[in-house]
């Protein structure tokens, strides 16, 4: 789960990492008030869950509160990579002497968290990583032991020469490691980590992503979730315990299992259709989940046909069939539905659905082609 910059900064600050003074706002008037409180020039920063905000025009400098209010009017409501900006962070504009990059990220290859530092931080860190990978220093942290102070110090020395800065940076890296483990993060990143002419090190930006699997024991983080920053249908799906991702096509997909759900989307595309979503109803065969899945997909006005593809293992096909009957009763779908139910209790499922006269298909390829064909039929008013 991603949290916003202002939330990540608050957490870093609690661990003793210095961040610029600032507050979050939802209106230009509020921005002006915060800017007056800070006094002097400020930065107005869009709070959205995508990278590249700066390049998209979502981060601006304002010389005073009047300018800040004007800029906030432009940033609030702005669309950045499909997400609408509803919140901005207003912070004191800091004087920048140097910009570094520091991050701890879960590394699948070493199966450890990897601490990465580079003295060339800032907006172009991805380019640095691609073109001059030797400028990024890495260390795999032993999960049983944690980050040792000498390791942090050695990396801090890659960033700074002055002993005072090295000491501060070592401390920051140790604190980031604490954040990473304490909050079950999969990413803790500061970019840029700046120095000013007073010799202070400040986290100018902050990013923390927390492992979804750990949210049950990270209640405080779970409560930080910004529902406004997500698709309404994705929020509804999570509440129904369904794994759902909204896409732009016309073929709604209801599938059991993530791999099969992806393969089903791939085949829709392969045979000339466009999937409307990824949806995995999971391993259990609770009929209520089928009803919820159907409701979420029908709420997408672009959907012209629904493809239900179930390969029963743990999931019992008759449970899914019962869910479908309930969904039809409760929702009365108006788009055509193609069903493929194979595996555990397949015959029982066929008997339950026999009266409903739905188009069925034996193979996955057949089912996909049928759904595309039906989606192409114009809707009669």
């Amino acid at each position: 789960m991603k949290i916003h910059e202002y939330q990540a900064k608050q957490l870093f600050a609690e661990y003793g990492i210095t961040v610029p003074a600032g507050e979050v706002a939802t209106s230009p008037a509020q921005v002006a008030e915060i800017a007056r409180g800070i006094g002097g020039p400020v930065m107005v920063k869009a709070q959205v869950h995508v990278g590249g905000r700066g390049k998209a025009g979502g981060v601006k400098y304002a010389a005073d509160a009047v300018v800040a209010e004007e800029i906030a009017g432009k940033i609030l409501g702005m669309d950045i990579k499909g997400l609408t900006v509803t919140k901005v962070l207003v912070t004191a504009a800091e004087e920048i002497v140097s910009e570094a990059y520091v991050a701890i990220v879960l590394d699948r290859a070493t199966k450890r968290p990897v601490l990465m530092v580079s003295s060339e931080g800032g907006m172009d860190i991805e380019e640095v990583a691609a073109k001059t990978p030797e400028k990024i220093h890495r260390l795999a942290i032993d999960p049983a032991v944690g980050l040792r102070p000498y390791q942090a110090r050695n990396l801090a020395q890659k960033l700074y020469q002055a002993p005072k800065l090295v000491r501060q940076a070592t401390d920051i890296l140790m604190k980031m490691s604490d954040v990473y483990w304490d909050l079950d993060a999969s990413l803790a990143e500061i970019n840029p980590l700046i120095t000013n002419s007073k010799g202070e090190i400040i986290a100018l930006d902050a990013k923390i992503t927390v492992d979804d699997n750990s949210l049950y024991r990270q209640r405080r983080i779970a409560d930080m979730r910004d529902l406004e920053a997500e698709e309404v249908s994705e929020v509804a799906a999570r509440e129904a315990d369904l794994s759902y991702v909204k896409l732009d096509g016309t073929i709604g997909c209801i599938v059991n299992g993530a791999g099969l759900a992806m393969a089903t989307m791939d085949l829709v595309k392969r045979y000339g259709g466009e999937p409307a979503n990824f949806l995995d109803i999971g391993g259990s065969s609770n009929p209520q989940k089928v009803v919820s899945a159907m409701r979420i997909i029908l709420s997408d006005p672009k959907v012209r046909a629904i493809l239900i593809n179930i390969f029963g293992g743990i999931t019992r096909c008759d449970d899914v069939a019962n869910g479908l009957v309930a969904a039809f009763d409760q929702l009365g779908p108006t788009v055509p539905i193609v069903i493929r139910l194979v595996g555990t209790n397949e015959a029982e499922a066929a008997a339950i659905l026999a009266d409903m006269n739905l188009p069925c298909a034996a193979t996955l390829d057949e089912a996909v082609k049928k759904a595309i064909e039906l989606a192409a039929v114009p809707v009669t008013a």
Binding site: D211, V245, G257, G259, A263, F278, D280, L364
Partner: protein, 347 residues
């Protein structure tokens, strides 16, 4: 023979009194697996469908001589269950549980490796050796004994592939679901290595998905170390970057982990990649025909990086262009290395 599990497998079930544990313990027993015991702290001395329950893995091992454990305990306790199994001396641990925190898994993984044990999963369907043993949740009804090895990151997609093989008359040696999490105990390369060494296995089906770089590592291994034909399928061609597709590991981050990259890497290693799971059997048959008609391949004389691979590279280049166009999934890509007649290659 088979890989990892066989008739010598003596299995205990951790979490046997839970809903999933009790149901699947019985399913595994019905399949013919020697389920010798179960573990639920506080329920020692009872039984589940005739299977004795113990308070600890240590007790279960002492009483039954178990050599394999399967874990169905809930996510907050599952990593600890892995530690317990390994510390009791179990050499093979299969963890079915989905949703274990990655931080817990990193510690468990390190412990498993230090002990020299093997972990399969977590968040996996387990494995099945037709005619011998089933450990996990795969439906036993879809498999049949044969010589095709199956390894996959997915669950139901694996069933789809197995069912396609069985329907086409192609039986399996062992089917392994390695799991969809970022931290897993056994990866593609581990399984491919085992299949290459296994006498019963003559061809391998490998089912990957977006995210990570395990498929690329597998391609590298196949190119340099495998003489048996491997065919693939990669799920997630239509997946958008940055969105997690159900599995914690199935996410395209930045420019890495895309289906197109993985397909290109496999093609370059001489692995044809099916456009649909239903096309896998035909590719396997072509691979097996090649082995039968090309004796050098069986006796292991095929040199890595030789003529076959060089030609495969150029074919792969052609197809990687295909794969990068989002709307076109590669058709059944048949690499020259899998063609029985070399003349076909040049046409």
């Amino acid at each position: 023979m088979s890989i990892f599990i066989d008739k010598e497998t003596r299995l205990i079930v951790q979490g046997i009194t839970g809903r999933e544990g009790s149901f699947h313990a019985q399913q595994m027993k019905e399949f013919g697996t020697a389920v010798v015991g179960g573990v639920t702290p506080g329920k020692g001395g009872t039984d589940v469908a005739g299977i004795p329950v113990f308070d600890s893995v240590e007790d279960a091992v002492a009483a039954t001589g178990a050599n394999t454990s399967v874990i169905y305990v809930p996510p907050p306790f599952a990593a600890d269950a892995i530690f317990e199994a390994v510390d009791a001396g179990i050499p093979l641990v299969i963890c079915i549980t989905e949703g274990i925190p990655a931080n817990d898994m990193m510690k468990a993984y390190q412990h498993v490796k230090a002990a020299g044990a093997r972990l399969i999963g977590p968040n996996c369907p387990g494995l099945i050796t037709p005619g011998a043993a089933k450990v996990g949740i795969m439906p036993g009804s879809i498999v049949t004994t044969g010589n095709v090895g199956v390894v996959s990151r997915s669950g139901t997609l694996t069933y789809e592939a197995i069912w396609a093989l069985t329907s086409a008359g192609l039986g399996q040696s062992t089917c392994v679901g390695i799991g969809g999490d970022p931290i897993i105990g056994t990866n593609f390369v581990d399984c491919l290595k085992a299949f290459q060494e296994d006498e019963q296995t003559e061809a391998v089906v490998m089912i990957g998905e977006i995210g990570g770089a395990d498929e690329e590592a597998a391609a590298d291994f196949i190119k340099n170390h495998m003489t048996k034909p491997v065919v693939g399928f990669i799920a997630g061609t239509a997946a958008p970057p940055g969105k997690r597709m159900g599995h914690a590991g199935a996410i395209i981050l930045g420019a890495s982990g895309t289906a197109a990259d993985k397909i290109a890497a496999l093609n370059a290693a001489g692995v044809p990649v099916a456009g649909s799971p239903t096309e896998l059997p035909a590719l396997v048959k072509q691979g097996l025909d090649r082995v039968k008609g090309w004796p050098e391949a069986i006796s292991g004389k095929r040199q890595p990086g030789g003529e076959c691979c060089a030609k495969a590279q150029s074919t792969a280049d052609a197809f990687s262009v295909h794969a990068s166009e989002q709307s076109v999934v590669p058709e059944m890509v048949v690499c020259p290395g899998l063609s029985a007649n070399k003349k076909d290659v040049t046409e």
